[in-house]
């Protein structure tokens, strides 16, 4: 009975799913397929080589400090970093005094109150403060940016497919839509060229991004460590820095993971030999010295009688 009902229900599902399938196939065959032009132009992020990549990846502190400098001089005017505190900068090699100075001289003040009047006021940042937001609120941010909202950058590397590669590709990916040719040699169709306040960038998911090109020329930032500040270099440095803001424990995690894996490989080998050892004696243990050994069975019976527990 169950099987009969089952077969009927099964046929029901098969028929309904089949109708959906046939309808889908017919629609697919009878409608013309135009590939979405923006989709065709979209580029996957390029592959960069970061020191923190791979299972043994380590921070390149020099690069992180350069990246911080790019953030400070280029990105920070529009993008916040509200999950990172100034004190965290000591993790990428700044001394305590340097951190205090960076916080104190930060271009945006931390919202506060006037201790005498209770009126809203601002004060200089302290190492314990998070990086202050450049805008008072979302409305202010949109008003200043042609109705676009600059996202907070703390987690941006983990919140975008492609991570640091995507960030570096995006920053260097601005192109002139009038002269750009995709990998098939096709120009950008007129109707999807950027409108007012938008910029063409094939690495951005929908091709046109509201952020103006932030890194425009070599030498835009003057590095203190003497590295040549090319556009590519600055883009990679800030992408590395944002990887750190998104995943500050990456290096600790890689180190701990290596130790844990070594321990577990050792434990697995021991467990394997323990298993082999136990089973190698299977015959003897079970037949002779185990619970089925006649002597053992007799001894057990005696023990049971003695304790008065019924088996």
């Amino acid at each position: 009975m169950v099987r009969l009902i089952g077969i009927l229900i099964g046929i029901g599902f098969v028929v309904v799913a089949g109708i959906s399938l046939i309808t889908g196939v017919i629609t697919h065959l009878t409608t013309e397929h135009v590939e979405d032009a923006a989709h065709a132009l979209h580029e996957e992020p390029r592959n960069y080589d970061f020191d923190h990549d791979g299972p043994f990846g380590r921070w390149n502190r020099q690069q992180l400090q350069r990246g911080f400098q790019v953030y400070k001089e280029v990105c920070a005017s529009c993008h916040g970093l509200n999950l990172v505190a100034f004190r965290n900068l000591s993790e990428i090699g700044y001394s305590e005094a340097a951190v205090r100075a960076i916080a104190d001289q930060w271009q945006i003040q931390v919202p506060s109150i006037n201790p005498d009047t209770g009126e809203p006021a601002g004060r200089n940042a302290l190492p314990a403060d998070r990086f202050p937001n450049p805008y008072a609120n979302e409305t202010a941010a949109r008003a200043a940016n042609n109705n676009a909202l600059p996202p907070d950058l703390s987690l941006i590397v983990k919140a975008r497919h492609g991570g640091a590669n995507y960030i570096a590709s995006l920053l260097t990916g601005y192109r002139d839509p009038a002269t750009y040719r995709d990998h098939h040699g096709q120009p950008v169709p007129e109707d999807i060229r950027p409108g007012q306040g938008l910029y063409f960038n094939p690495y951005f998911p929908n091709i046109n991004i509201a952020m103006p090109p932030p890194i425009t020329a070599d030498g835009q930032v003057t590095y203190t460590d003497g590295t040549n500040p090319t556009v590519d270099q600055m883009a990679q440095d800030v992408a590395a820095f944002l990887t750190w803001t998104a995943e500050p424990n990456l290096q600790t995690r890689h180190r701990a993971g290596t130790a844990v894996l070594i321990f577990l490989i050792f434990a697995s080998i021991l467990a394997w030999f323990a298993y082999k050892n136990v089973w190698a004696n299977a015959k003897r243990t079970v037949r002779v010295a185990g619970p089925l050994d006649p002597e053992n069975m007799a001894r057990r019976e005696a023990a049971k009688d003695e304790s008065g527990i019924a088996g």
């Binding site: 799913a17 919140a159 299977a282 023990a303």
Partner: protein, 441 residues
């Protein structure tokens, strides 16, 4: 418990005897997972996954309890509190990554455990209750995992909650009020987050309780085995301890190795980038997808695209829940007296088609809802229902099965290695040593 030759518990000294006479808990444990539980001697490595699922649940409960000490179930601060755990709580990043990936590994081992049951007929008499309780655990796991994914209050959390509770909205008449009742509001909000947190904390302990029933029900007939032949006598079994504790010990070590490799070196690989964006009710993500372990069912949900008597969406919901509910009837849909797929050549073929089918459904379930993925999901859905509801009932009637060995020890002792081998690749599988007793005896 199960067999008369099970070794009874013997207190080793005065203290354990004193305990035993007052609270025979050591006796209970000894009979359940110690030397007092005789287990077929020919189990292969697919019998390790029940224990691994138990380990995975333990990892989830331990990491989860500590995470709950730092997490804040408030719609305004939940996302920040998770980042606080990642950045400021000592080893918080490890706890959270272990918990997030622990859920994935819990599902991986549970899916293997379920498919082992499907292949070796573990759902058949006299173990129907073991199967049914296992399905209850599976449903509880899915509910727990879904609610847990909502807690970080990222974009996928929010929109996942909206889409999944929206499924209940497809039910005629009561649907909309039901959805509002589940969410505690018209859209996911503070009320939703708080209740999901409460239930997410509660359900794992319910799962632990049902696991006890699951193991209890298993101990009545005793464990099955790859031949599917009943245990005939003491020569067919070995005590659980030390034989299977040793074997499980090795399996646990390998499991931890895989788990640690992902947790430490690719902790976000199984997650979705959008969940690192705080929840925003005004911005819908481009593709809303649940976690990977729901993808096969998500594919079935989206396979129904045409209104036929009922609206397409309702068909999808019925089919998605039906895909799990039908498993409760499996013991009666497939009444073939032969349990193990090793002796059912046609069943074996269809079983492997089902495995491929579910993997394909999983793949298209994670893909965007466009062609050709939708067509593939429809084909996959048709086979899924046909397999359980049409093929198995007919097959159990018409299939000519292979002769069974007379007993487990005969199959082991007489060198019929194929009988004890896993998944129907007799020669290759036996070479890898999965039938250790046959080599040593």
């Amino acid at each position: 418990m199960a067999f008369p030759w099970a070794q009874p518990y013997e207190p080793k000294n005065d203290f354990t005897r004193w305990i035993d006479q007052r609270l025979p808990l050591p006796r209970f444990v000894y009979g359940a997972v110690g030397g007092g539980y005789p287990v077929p001697r020919n189990l292969n490595n697919f019998w390790n996954f029940g224990v691994l699922a138990g380990i995975a649940l333990t990892i989830q409960i331990v990491t989860g309890i500590v995470l709950a000490m730092h997490y804040n179930a408030n719609a305004d601060t939940a996302f920040q509190s998770v980042e606080h755990i990642m950045r400021d709580v000592p080893q918080g990043w490890f706890l959270r990554y272990a918990h997030a990936n622990g859920a994935s590994f819990f599902f991986i081992v549970t899916y293997i455990h379920i498919f082992r049951g499907l292949y070796y007929g573990s759902y058949k008499a006299p173990r129907e209750m073991v199967w049914l309780l296992g399905l209850v655990i599976f449903l509880l796991m899915m509910a727990t995992a879904f609610m847990g994914y909502v807690l970080p209050w990222g974009q996928m959390s929010f929109w996942g909650a909206k889409v999944i509770t929206g499924l209940f909205g497809a039910i005629p008449l009561i649907g909309e009020s039901l959805q509002t009742w589940l969410l505690g509001s018209f859209a996911p909000d503070q009320a939703t987050l708080t209740r999901f947190f409460s239930l997410h904390y509660l359900l794992p302990f319910v799962i632990a309780g049902v696991i006890i029933l699951h193991v209890w029900a298993l101990h009545i007939p005793g464990s099955g085995n790859p031949t599917g032949v009943d245990v005939k006598g003491p020569q067919d079994t070995v005590p659980f301890h030390p034989f299977y504790t040793a074997k499980d010990g090795f399996a646990v070590a390998i499991f931890m190795l895989c788990f640690a490799a992902v947790t430490f070196f690719a902790p976000n690989y199984l997650g979705h980038a959008d969940n690192y964006i705080p929840a925003n009710a005004l911005s819908t993500p481009a593709h809303i997808v649940p976690e990977w372990y729901f993808w096969p069912f998500y594919a079935i949900l989206r396979a129904f695209t045409v209104d036929f008597i009922l609206p397409a969406k309702l068909w999808g919901v019925i089919a998605m829940f039906g895909a799990i509910i039908l498993l409760f009837f499996l013991p009666w849909l497939d009444p073939s007296p032969v349990r193990s797929g090793n002796y059912r050549p046609k069943f074996k073929l269809f079983f492997w088609i089902l495995v491929v089918d579910v993997l394909i459904l999983g793949y298209v379930g994670g893909a965007p809802a466009e062609e050709p993925y939708v067509m593939i999901s429809q084909l996959g859905t048709i086979y899924y229902f046909a397999h359980f509801l049409i093929i198995l009932p007919i097959l159990s009637r018409v299939e000519r099965t292979l002769p069974l060995p007379n007993s487990i020890s005969e199959s082991v002792l007489h060198g019929e290695k194929a009988e004890a081998a896993p998944y129907g690749t007799p020669t290759a599988a036996t070479e890898t040593g999965s039938v250790v007793p046959s080599k040593t005896l």
